[in-house]
């Protein structure tokens, strides 16, 4: 597919917008449909589109397998660690977001944003890892 001019140019034009749309969906999860899971899938879709048009090797140069494998647990770590400051500072129980702000609304907003960031990282790397695992199979 990398020899088709329209696909190549079109993909290169669209990829930045797809990647910007993901944080948009993430931050607007408070006010409309959205959130971490959807944003993670959109990021993964951008990488998968690149892999489909330019080939798996080109995609693996940008997002190497080892980096993706390491990012998978990092997202879970961010999520779980976001719940810990309340325990460590002694102010509350696990996932008590009161430590992040001065009043209830802002504290919870910050807490949800941090937690959803962890979700983005894990979901994007999981989708990409699944794509790599399946796409690699037929090549031997």
């Amino acid at each position: 597919m990398k020899f088709d001019l329209i696909l190549r140019v079109g993909t290169k034009l669209m990829l930045p917008f797809i990647l910007i749309f993901a944080p948009y969906v993430h931050f607007h999860g408070d006010y409309g449909p959205g959130g971490g899971f959807q944003a993670g899938v959109i990021i993964a879709a951008a990488f998968i589109l690149y892999a489909m048009v330019f080939g798996l090797d080109a995609a693996k140069r940008i997002a190497p397998q080892s980096v993706i494998d390491r990012l998978l647990p990092v997202g879970v770590l961010i999520f779980a660690a976001a719940g810990l400051p309340a325990i460590v500072s002694g102010q509350g129980r696990f996932l008590d977001f009161g430590v992040y702000g001065h009043d209830f609304l802002h504290a919870h907003e910050w807490g949800i944003l941090i937690v959803e960031t962890g979700v983005i990282v894990t979901v994007a790397s999981t989708m990409l890892a699944i794509f790599y695992a399946f796409a690699d199979r037929g090549r031997q």
Binding site: R70, L72, P73, G83, G90, R93, F94, F97
Partner: protein, 497 residues
């Protein structure tokens, strides 16, 4: 230190969860084993701390997360029943981990070993989560976490049939979990809450206005959980899954996975619905009684005719689960206590049996009974431990199995069904046949040619095996932990409703 004590319930889940995350970040099997060992070693201390706190104060521990009070928020509620099963699961994890080092190194590819330990820790976190949570939907989430980890653990077995067994278990397990979630949905529509204690309070009045959805919910949840605990005839996934999984996975799962589902069944039937709904409206207890008897006999028969030792032990597991659900069906104090004691004892005995068999596979590479002829001469300590745990399965006085069957028999007499005692003894005789078959093959035949290089397994595998075999005998005499606590739990579950 008091602040740490306050957060024990969430630490019970966080320790294996963080362990899983760190194990996934490593690339070496030994480091991943080390992380799994640390997490598995800390977990029983947390469970013991919770159990001692509850025994001391006599009050359940309630831990509310995320600054939303129950019943709107998710609550971890630990009472005597929870703490008992938590201690069991974390102890099995602790005992299994030294065994894992050599066993996993021999059976799993080196670059997959970190992921194997990640899955093991996620399974441990999921099982502990099912037991500790006080929210019905949270139980589903942890159920699926542990199940997905289990499918992966099983699929990493060496034989290609492991993949097929994992797929079959995936289909059946997901249907079971979805049935459970349908039941929870019907309960939510009828009562408006998901918290176990709140549901228990609201179900009484709700039964007057909406009896049909609540009974349908009871049926869906029972069927869904029965699929997970392998109650006959929903046990079809278990023999294949236990036979073809890696030895460490089978040993760990045999002692823990079905026990967490049994906890959920007991919690739903006795705490949430309560005996006045469960016993008086639909004949659920009679149905479970019939299925338990079917499990006890048919599965024991299937075990007698099995050629593969692992499948024989798997069918034996289905039969022993029949004993446990028999106690639940009796629904009186001694029957329920017998169930709980058998949950503990069976976990210890079955894990010991699978340890012994896994050690034999480690040394000889064979699990077929004919291939293991004469193994008693070559691996005497391992086979002796197998025999002790097997005697426990049969229920020989002096072993832990006798205690649980004794309680079940007294429960049957209390209920007025004396013929049930006769059936319990009869099925124990069937256990004599299949355990005796293995003993005869192991001791009274000449070692076959393939066993020339067999000798005792390494100490890291032998020590857990001997510990569990010794525990089988010890728990046959000192029943303060198992019997005493089980009777208190049964009183609390039956009296509180």
């Amino acid at each position: 230190m008091s602040s740490l004590h306050e957060h024990l319930p969430i630490l019970q889940i966080l320790v294996p969860l963080f362990g899983a995350v760190f194990a996934a970040l490593t690339r070496s099997g030994v480091v991943a084993w080390g992380i799994a060992a640390i997490a598995s070693a800390i977990a029983p201390f947390i469970s013991a701390g919770l159990l001692l706190h509850i025994i001391d104060t006599g009050q359940p521990i309630s831990y509310v997360m995320g600054a939303w009070a129950a019943p709107w928020g998710i609550e971890y509620r630990v009472d005597l029943l929870n703490a008992f099963i938590l201690l069991l699961i974390s102890l099995i994890g602790l005992v299994s981990i030294p065994y894992a080092r050599k066993s996993v190194a021999a059976e799993i590819d080196p670059h997959k070993q970190p992921w194997f330990y990640t899955m093991y820790l996620l399974c441990l976190a999921g099982l502990l989560g099912i037991v500790i949570t006080g929210d019905a939907f949270n139980a589903f989430v942890f159920l699926e976490i542990s199940s997905l980890a289990t499918y992966t653990l099983i699929a990493l077995g060496r034989h290609r049939r492991a993949l097929l067994s994992a797929y079959q278990y995936l289909i059946m397990g997901t249907i079971g979990a979805t049935f459970y979630i349908i039941g929870v949905g019907l309960l939510y529509v009828a009562t408006g809450t998901l918290n176990f204690t709140d549901l228990a309070a609201r179900l009484g009045p709700a039964m007057q206005t909406y009896p049909e959805p609540i009974l349908a919910a009871l049926a869906f949840m029972t069927v869904g959980i029965s699929l997970k605990l392998a109650l006959f005839p929903l046990h079809v996934w278990l023999p294949n899954a236990y036979a073809y999984a890696p030895s460490f996975a089978t040993s760990f799962l045999a002692g823990t996975a079905t026990k967490a589902a049994i906890y959920l069944l007991i919690r739903i039937h006795f705490s949430v619905f309560g005996t006045h709904i469960v016993l008086k409206t639909v004949p659920i207890e009679e149905v479970i009684l019939l299925l338990s008897l079917a499990a006890m006999f048919i599965a024991s028969f299937a075990a007698i005719f099995e050629a593969n030792a692992k499948r024989m032990l798997a069918y034996s597991s289905v039969a022993q689960i029949g004993y446990i659900t028999l106690g639940i069906a009796l629904a009186n104090k001694m029957g329920l206590a017998g169930s709980l004691v058998h949950v503990f004892n069976h976990a210890i005995m079955k894990t010991a049996l699978f340890f012994a068999l896994g050690a034999m596979v480690y040394r000889t590479g064979m699990a077929g009974m004919t291939g293991l002829s004469g193994i008693g001469r070559k691996m005497p300590i391992t086979t002796a431990a197998f025999v002790i745990a097997g005697l426990g399965l049969i229920g020989v006085p002096g072993t832990a199995g006798f205690i649980s069957k004794w309680y079940l028999a007294i429960g049957a007499i209390d209920h007025g069904w004396t013929w049930l005692v006769f059936l319990i003894v009869l099925s124990s005789l069937l256990a004599v046949i299949y355990v005796g078959r293995f003993i005869e093959i192991a001791y009274f035949r000449e070692p076959s040619a393939e066993l020339a290089s067999a000798r005792e397994p390494p100490t890291s595998m032998l020590a857990p095996l001997i510990t569990l075999a010794a525990a089988t005998i010890y728990l046959g005499f000192d029943t303060r932990l198992t019997g005493g606590v089980a009777m208190r739990i049964a009183e609390y579950l039956l009296g509180g409703t």
